[in-house]
Each structure stands twice: as C-alpha cells, then as structure tokens.
C-alpha cells in the first residue's frame, strides 16, 4: 500500500460514522449512505443499496415485452413514461416497425410533461432539503396540474403504463390538447415565482455554489448524465445526439454549463423546464387525427440478437439492453439506470465538504432510489 492509501485508511478508521438512511429524511427513499465524518467534514461516503431491490431484471426474463413495460414504470417512478417508451422503442426498432407520426408527437409531449412534473418535484424537494419548506407546497401545487392531465388521458397519475409497442393503449382524451395549453400558460407565470422564492436567495446560493464540484472529465468518467452531467459541461443529451420519437422535429437547446457545482445543477434543471415547455409548444398543435397505434402482432417475439436503446429520462441517460433468443421473453434484460451511475460519483463529489453539503449534493443529483436498486 502506498503512503496516501495508508493515510486514507487511518482516517477511515478514526472517522465518526453516521448512517444517512435507510430511513432518513433527505435520502427520499431507502438508500443507506454510511458517511465517515471528521467533525462535520465528510471523509468518505459508502453507499449501501438494495433496500428496495425487487429483482426486476430477473422478473423480466420471465415476462413478455408487453408485461415488462409495466415493470419499467417502477424503476424511476418519476419518469415512468420515458422508461415505458424506452422498451417500446427497443421493440419497435428490433421489429422494424414504423409508428405513426401522431404517436411520436404525443410520446414526446408526454415525455416532456413527465420531465416537467419530475423537475417540479425535484425543485420542491431540493428546497425542502435545504430547509426552505415552503418550496415543497409550491412545487406540488403545480405538479398536480400535470398529474391531472396524465390521469385524464392515460388513466394513471404517477405510473401511466400508457405506451405499448407500436403506440398507446388507447387514444388520448379530447381534453388533452386544451389542458396542456392551459397548463403551459399557467406554468409560464409560475416558474419565475420559483426563481423569486429560491434561486435568488442568498442563503440558497451560499449553500450550493461551489459545493460538490464535478469536472467535465470526472462527469464523463463516472457516467454522470442528465442535467447533472450537463451542468459539468458533458454534452450527453440523448434527445439531441441520438434523437428518438419526435425530438428530431423540434428545435430546443441543450443546456450546458461548465461550473459543475450544485448550484449549476440546479440552474440546469430550471432551464430545462423552459426548454421542455418550448418543445411541448412546438408539438402541441401538430397532433393530427389518426391511429393511436401501429399494427402489431398479438404476440411479440424479437428476432434473436442483442439490442440497446437509449432514451433521456429526467435524470439522465436510460438504457435498455436486451439479449433475445427469438423467444417471446428476453433472455437477459439490463437497465442502464442514470441514478446508479450518478450515485457512483457521490463519494467523489462529497469528500471534504460538510455533512450539510452532502444533502445539497444529493438533492442536486436528484437520486431516485428504486431506479438505483431495480
């Protein structure tokens, strides 16, 4: 062992260990972090996962592709619709099915609504983690409006399971378009209010600026994607670089910052909300009448081979890797979860900061635990 390694181990032995989780107000789920402290300074963080491990990858090996869609909802439950879409896109691409343009557009709109809802929840929770409890109610108030749109059209508020290979379960509700427009008009007025309440606050900025800095190289090496990665300058937006659904048809900006600290991860998400609204605005008038699904066989069998599909969920790049033997169930199914990769950088990012900063870093990464554990 090298000297620095010995030094590090000695420090670890002396550390004062505090468990953050599995039941802890700031992990938002059942993640356990064993935090080594020296005073208030974090020496190292050791994640212990598996408290909500359900073996979804194993379950997938027994299920048909239509059934798997419902399992993917339960991964990152805040971007359930996008997860569904990943599996559908994979099946469609593997079978070579071209879905109607109407489906593509509605999928994209639903994706962006999911992203907005998820970012609203994240904003609420980030404020709450830093002690500004009021943000929680502001964020949830507006999120409710999106969930109502989801409920009306898909039947599910949080876990829609609306996508099927080829299209949707059923057609959208006639109210979908007017209500979405109504929401956009409403939320455009509310978003500046978010900034007034939290972004400009001196205490908030002091708590997040320069905290948990991740350079571009580290972000790439740790595979930190999504707004967290883009705040470090890692251009990793799958929507832009490998467009799927209707993302090729719209004009939007990939939010990139170079600072890579908690504050810019926050700002990246706030800006992304504007971009999401821009995307929806461009697409909402282009929904034309037509079929809501492509013609599909009742039993879906993927040809033998290996397939990989990437989509951009709220938290980063979500990947589905399927090995098929030509059966109606996959031979092996793997989900590349963005949160799992983001978690791996947590130890590196929070070393040397205070325990209170850990909370800021964690909420700026926006971890969703069921996606880590799968």
């Amino acid at each position: 062992m090298s000297d620095s390694k010995i030094q590090e181990n000695l420090q670890k032995e002396d550390a004062y260990y505090v468990n953050m989780g599995p039941q802890h107000p700031s992990t938002h789920g059942v993640l356990r972090l064993r935090v080594g402290l020296q005073g208030e300074k974090v020496i190292h963080v050791e994640p212990h996962c598996g408290y909500i491990h359900r073996g979804i990858e194993k379950m997938c090996e027994k299920d048909t592709y239509s059934q798997i869609i419902h399992l993917t909802d339960r991964l990152d439950y805040l971007s359930a619709n996008t997860n569904n879409e990943a599996v559908c896109l994979l099946v469609e691409n593997a079978l070579g099915i071209e879905v109607p343009e109407r489906v593509k557009i509605i999928r994209t709109i639903l994706d962006e609504l999911t992203r907005l809802a998820s970012h609203q929840l994240w904003w609420s929770v980030m404020g709450m983690d830093l002690g500004a409890l009021t943000t929680f109610f502001y964020g949830l108030r507006d999120r409710e409006k999106i969930l109502d749109i989801f409920e009306e059209s898909t039947g599910g508020r949080l876990l829609p399971s609306f996508n099927t290979p080829g299209g949707f379960m059923h057609d959208i509700h006639p109210n979908f378009v007017p209500r979405t427009k109504e929401f956009l008009a409403y939320f455009k007025k509310k978003l500046p209010e978010y900034n007034r309440l939290l972004t400009g606050n001196v205490i908030f900025q002091q708590r997040t600026k320069g905290i948990g800095i991740l350079s571009k190289e580290d972000a790439i090496a740790y595979g930190v994607t999504g707004p967290s990665g883009r705040a470090s300058g890692f251009a990793c937006d799958v929507r832009k670089h490998h467009p799927y659904s209707a993302y090729g048809m719209v004009d939007f900006k990939e939010i990139l910052y170079t600072e890579g600290d908690s504050f810019y991860r926050y700002v990246a998400r706030m800006d992304e909300m504007w971009e999401s609204m821009k995307i929806i605005e461009q697409l909402i008038d282009r929904i034309e009448d037509g079929p809501y699904t492509a013609k599909m066989k009742p039993i879906i069998k993927l040809p033998a081979g290996e397939y990989y599909q990437r989509v951009e969920t709220t938290r980063g790049e979500f990947g589905v890797f399927v090995i098929s033997t030509g059966d109606k169930t996959p031979y092996r199914m793997k989900f590349r979860s963005p949160n799992f990769a983001n978690l791996s950088a947590l130890d590196y990012m929070s070393r040397g900061f205070k325990i209170a900063d850990m909370v800021a870093i964690m909420s700026s990464l926006d971890l969703v635990i069921p996606d880590i554990d799968r």
Partner: protein, 366 residues
C-alpha cells in the same frame, strides 16, 4: 399623561395589602409567589398552545394551504388535541442512554424559558420581577437552555443528537454575544438595565425611532441573533431535519418531546417580548411628535388602547416576523452560521456601540 388609565399597580397593591392584613410578611410573600407561579404556568401553557396554532396557520398561509380546520371552529383546538396525543404517547429511551440526564434535559430547557417570562413587563404594574439588572437576568436565564440541549444530545446515545447538540452549543454561545451587544445599544441610550426604567424612558417615543440609525442596526442584529438563539429557521441547524433527522431531540417522544417543542415556542415568545420591550417600548402606546398638528388627539386615541394589547401586539408582530423568516428561507450551514456571527454581526455591533456612545455624548438622538 393619560397612560395611567390602564394601570395595574392599584390592583396588585390591593392584593398585596389585603394579603398582608391577614398573613405574616413571610407567608404573604409565599402566597404571592404561588399565585404568580400558577398564573405564569397557565399563561405559559396558553401562549404555547396559541403559538403552535399560530405557527401552523401562518405557515399554511405562506404555503398556500389552509392549515388545521377540523378540531373546533377554524381548528383552534388542534393544538390541544395534539397535546393530548403527545401526553398519551409512550416514553421511549435508547439503550445505554444516560437515564438521569436524559430525563433532566427537557426540564432544564423548559425551566430556562419559563424563568425569563417573569421579567417581562406585560403592562404598567404587571411586572413580576423588576430589578436593576433585568436585562442581564433575562440574558442569563435564557442562556441556561443550551445546557439542556447539550445534555439532551449527549445523553441520548445517538449520533445525530450529539452532532445537533454540539452545533446548538456553538451556535447559542456565539449568538448570545450579538444579542447582548445589540441590547447594549439601548442600555447606553436608556442609561439603565432595569426593564421598567427602559420602558419608562420610551414614554415619549420608542427607542427604535428615538435612537434612529444605531437603534435600527441594533434591532436588525437583535432579530437575527435572537432567531438564531432560539434555534429557529433559517438557523435551525440543531434540529436540521434533512441532515440530522431531528437533531438533539431525535430520541425524545411523548411529553418530553412536547417539552422541547413548547420550550422552542416559548423561547420565541421570550425573545420577541424582550425585543418589544427594549426596542418598541413594551406597553407604551404609539405616539407621534407634538409638532404635527392634532398630534395630541391622535396620541390620546392611542392611549385608550390598553397597555397589554400594545405589548402583545408588538410581541405578536415580532413573532410573525420570525415565522416569516422560517418559512421562506433555506437553512444555513454551520460554518456560514458562525461566519455570519463572528465576521459580520459582531464587528458591526462593536462599531455600532461606539457610534451609540458618541451619539449619546453629543445628544444626537431624540
């Protein structure tokens, strides 16, 4: 002056005289102290319950909610229901906790907040303890509370509690300085540490207005520092729930937790009342300058509002301000908290005291 219409001196001295007529002087003192004690306990419970209710309503208002509505009209009995629930809950204790200190801690915290109320001038003549070092006394007893918090954190045998307690220790010890220094400004202006004299010196105007710039600076510092001293947001690091679960009272349940909870609200009341006394003239009504035409009629109208309404109104305003802080600001970090105190508030305070002294010497105040 028309202030005397709501004078309680007559009432209290009548009670005193009628008691001395039947009892020996020693017995009189004991009976009087008992009466005052009972009155204060009742007052304490009432104010505590009301403040909890008020906080829930204020917080609900800020957060676009309705707050408690079910128990009683507009939910006013909600806190009583909560209190009964807390009374009936099981008292839990961690294994290997220091039993004696663990049980002692909530009492120290609550007694400290209780003692300070005694020195508050609620209205003219309603003043239980009035001695020449009133300010020093309030500062001293409110400082005792930190011992209870430290004991609670230490004896719980819980890591979160210990970190919370040590944070709280560092925080209260630091901010005690600023509170004291801010009060020093008014002591210099009023030339006395006796609370009744400080109040009397504000008969022709509150110190916040009479002392202009230095007093306003001192008032702002006092509000910041006293919010920190009561461990309330944005300075609630001792119980920072997103980091330390519930800080020093993580392991407390039932009525012992209720004690901490009540003490927090009473501390808030104490510092607000103290601020109202020192800066806003306690029960003194709002008067405008005689130079303005018809000012005497306005002042007379103000005099008809009873003193205790003025006192509780001012205290309520300051409490509202503190609640507003809590529900809009994020929490500071421990090093930022100490930086704020030692690098900003304290030097500003010291300079402010010098300015005050200069103003008093040159008579450059009203």
């Amino acid at each position: 002056m028309a202030i005397d219409i709501y004078d309680f001196t007559g009432m209290t001295s009548a009670i005193h005289e009628s008691l001395s007529a039947v009892l020996s002087p020693a017995a009189t003192t004991i009976v009087e102290m008992t009466i005052i004690g009972i009155v204060f306990i009742l007052f304490y419970a009432l104010v505590g319950l009301f403040l909890v209710y008020a906080e829930r309503k204020v917080c609900a208002f800020i957060q676009c909610r309705l707050g408690p509505r079910r128990v009683g009209p507009r939910g006013i009995f909600q806190t009583i229901a909560d209190f009964i629930k807390l009374l009936m809950k099981e008292l839990l204790m961690t294994k290997n906790a220091d039993k004696f200190l663990f049980n002692l801690a909530p009492f120290i915290v609550i007694i400290a907040s209780f003692m300070a109320i005694g020195a508050m001038p609620f209205a003219k003549g309603l003043h239980a303890l009035d001695f020449d070092i009133g300010i020093l006394y309030v500062l001293a007893v409110s400082g005792i509370g930190v011992i209870g918090i430290l004991l609670a954190g230490w004896s719980s045998n819980n890591k979160y509690s210990l970190i919370g307690a040590l944070r709280s220790g560092a925080q209260i010890v630091s901010y005690e300085l600023s509170v004291g220094m801010a009060l020093m400004t008014i002591i210099i202006f009023a030339g006395s540490m006796q609370l009744s004299e400080i109040v009397a010196s504000q008969a022709n105007g509150w110190w916040l207005f009479k002392g202009h710039i230095p007093a306003i600076i001192a008032f702002v510092i006092f509000m910041i520092a006293s919010t920190a001293e009561t461990n309330r947001g944005p300075f609630d690091l001792a119980e920072a729930e997103s980091e330390l679960v519930a800080g020093f009272h993580t392991e407390y349940s039932g009525i012992k937790f209720a004690f901490f909870f009540l003490a927090e609200y009473m501390n808030m009341f104490v510092v607000a009342a103290f601020g109202a006394t020192v800066f806003l003239g306690a029960w003194m009504p709002f008067h405008i300058s005689e130079m303005i035409p018809y000012a005497e009629y306005f002042n007379m109208g103000m005099d008809f509002i009873p003193g205790f309404i003025w006192f509780f109104g001012k205290t309520g305003m300051l409490i509202l301000l503190m609640m507003w802080f809590k529900w809009t600001f994020p929490r500071l970090r421990i090093d930022q908290l100490l930086t704020l105190e030692w690098k900003y508030l304290l030097p500003i305070n010291l300079v402010n005291i010098v300015i005050t002294a200069f103003f008093v010497l040159t008579g450059f105040h009203f």
